[in-house]
């Protein structure tokens, strides 16, 4: 599974690069617009190790960010699952915050939190949590009548149990969303680094952008992609394990 993820990523990446090269040679574009294969290769080789370290750094933040997002999404999703007043205000708050593009919120976040690790983490989590939240709210607000009936009519349906039942019945959907959100956590962290940090791959991409260096950007995308494929593969594998563990 892991291996398959990796070579599938390679296929897709190569397809993308090929498209760019076709464009380059089709329209006879200079190396400035689209780098030559040689340049790309050289840049890739030269920067691989450094970018890899950057990505590892980013991934670290992303993983923490993802965990926070998942927890946060569950808290909000569980609080917001009921059609009560509190539930719906929590939902409205969660939705509204999301509507503000992070670039607009960034200054406020920096005022509130300074621009250290925490701010970065917050931005990463904010980008990542929302899709999980949507799924969690969707799942948590739908009763599983045939299972809940007994607990409800014997007065035993505390919210923890309700949440557990609904989560378990939708385990597949939840693991899909959670493992899928890894990509979002990654993207979120990169954006945060892009805006604020002076470390991580987002920072490297920003420099490459300022320097109009597409070869570097493509190399960075490669490293991001491959790392993420591995991480995602691992998450799916863990998800399968958990499912197995919970189901037996």
């Amino acid at each position: 599974m892991l291996l398959r993820r990796i070579y599938q990523f390679l296929i897709i990446y190569c397809a993308g690069i090929l498209l760019l090269f076709l464009l380059k040679y089709g329209l006879q574009l200079s190396d400035y617009v689209i780098p030559s294969p040689i340049e790309l290769w050289q840049t890739g080789c030269a920067e691989f190790v450094r970018y890899f370290k950057d990505v590892a750094d980013t991934l670290r933040v992303a993983v923490i960010g993802q965990i926070i997002s998942v927890i946060f999404a569950f808290i909000v999703g569980i609080a917001g699952r009921k059609a009560t007043w509190v539930g719906s205000i929590v939902k409205v708050a969660a939705y509204n915050v999301q509507a503000y593009p992070i670039v607009a919120l960034a200054p406020i976040i920096f005022i509130l939190l300074g621009d250290g690790f925490i701010a970065r983490l917050l931005i990463a989590s904010m980008i990542c949590y929302f899709p999980i939240l949507l799924s969690v709210i969707g799942i948590m607000s739908e009763p599983v009548v045939d299972i809940e009936h007994f607990y409800r009519c014997t007065g035993r349906l505390r919210w923890q149990l309700e949440v557990k039942i609904r989560a378990f019945e939708n385990l597949n959907k939840l693991t899909t969303v959670i493992s899928g959100s890894a990509t979002l956590a990654m993207a979120g962290t990169i954006v945060a680094e892009f805006i604020a940090a002076n470390a991580g791959i987002g920072y490297s991409i920003r420099i490459a952008l300022y320097q109009s260096d597409l070869a570097r950007i493509l190399s960075a995308l490669f490293v991001i992609g491959i790392t993420l494929s591995v991480y995602q593969g691992l998450l799916e594998w863990a998800g399968a394990l958990i499912k197995k563990g919970w189901e037996t």
Binding site: D31, Y32, A106, I111, Y210, Q211, S212
Partner: protein, 302 residues
């Protein structure tokens, strides 16, 4: 080929830095020259030189470091005019801090730079010139907003003198704080800023269009900066830059004048070849290009 559609891609959003371009557009100077030009705003993710090659634009504004980088990668770019004689990129600091009279005064300060941006290049050149070790200062990563400077987390912050410099001064003035500027030019660092570029192909195939474009554009700039036209110019600017008050715009315009035409004997649009060469040297010294590109080949005084 009058009436042919031409796209002119600016480097940045519409503001006082592009007043001449807007003026030429609004006051039909392009049309008077038989050109149908659409002036398009730029942005950080935009790159006029790429658009020239892809045919999305026929003319554009690019900074000198962009031009030199593009040349080093074989892009067929030609500079037809240099708008800013003095780079608007400068640094601000509060006047309750010791003034920076010599480069060595930078020691011990926290200096904002945009990593990868040309302010980094310029600042590093200044530091090298002043013989200042990186350990003697603190570098602070600049991002979209100015909060770190406001909160005094950084002492010295890069701004565009004629735009940001003006409204930041105004903002701090409300709190009875005054700003000073650190101009690299004062320390002998000349790093060329925005210039008008086109493609080799354009010059080869439509030389007349290029000439007419340059004439129209520079006429626009001359008229825009002419104090006699002040009212007209401000009205033009206001059409595009709705978010800035008239007082600020007036100040911005005044400073823009001094950067575009520092003295009456310099013609607007003059390409300062020596400054370009210096820019290339700086970039090479900083390792931003691997080998010389001989930038003068791309400079065309038509």
């Amino acid at each position: 080929n009058a009436g042919e559609k031409l796209n002119y891609r600016l480097k940045w959003l519409f503001n006082a830095s592009v007043v001449g371009d807007l003026y030429a557009d609004v006051h039909h100077i392009f049309t008077d020259h038989g050109l149908d030009v659409q002036v398009k705003a730029g942005g950080p993710e935009r790159d006029a030189i790429r658009e020239l090659e892809l045919g999305h634009a026929q003319f554009g504004v690019a900074s000198a470091d962009q031009v030199i980088r593009a040349m080093s990668k074989g892009a067929p770019v030609i500079v037809i005019a240099q708008l800013f004689q003095i780079n608007a990129l400068q640094w601000i600091y509060r006047d309750d801090q010791p003034p920076i009279k010599r480069l060595s005064d930078l020691k011990g300060r926290t200096i904002g730079i945009t990593y990868g941006g040309n302010d980094e290049t310029i600042m590093r050149t200044l530091l090298a010139k002043g013989g200042i070790n990186q350990k003697e200062i603190t570098l602070f990563s600049v991002r979209y907003d100015y909060t770190p400077f406001f909160q005094r987390k950084a002492d010295i912050w890069p701004v565009y003198r004629n735009t940001q410099g003006v409204f930041l001064s105004a903002k701090l003035a409300k709190e009875d704080e005054t700003l000073r500027f650190l101009d690299p030019h004062d320390f002998g660092v000349r790093f060329v800023a925005n210039s008008v570029v086109t493609s080799e192909q354009m010059i080869a195939k439509h030389p007349q269009t290029v000439i007419k474009f340059k004439q129209a554009l520079l006429q626009g700039w001359r008229e825009a900066l002419n104090p006699a036209n002040q009212k007209k110019t401000l009205n033009t600017l206001k059409q595009f830059d709705k978010d800035t008050s008239e007082t600020i715009l007036t100040q911005q315009l005044a400073i823009t004048r001094t950067l575009i035409q520092p003295s009456p004997d310099i013609k607007i649009g003059t390409i300062d070849t020596a400054a370009w060469k210096e820019t290339e040297q700086i970039m090479q010294a900083q390792g931003l290009i691997k080998k010389p590109v001989n930038v003068e080949k791309a400079l065309r005084n038509l």
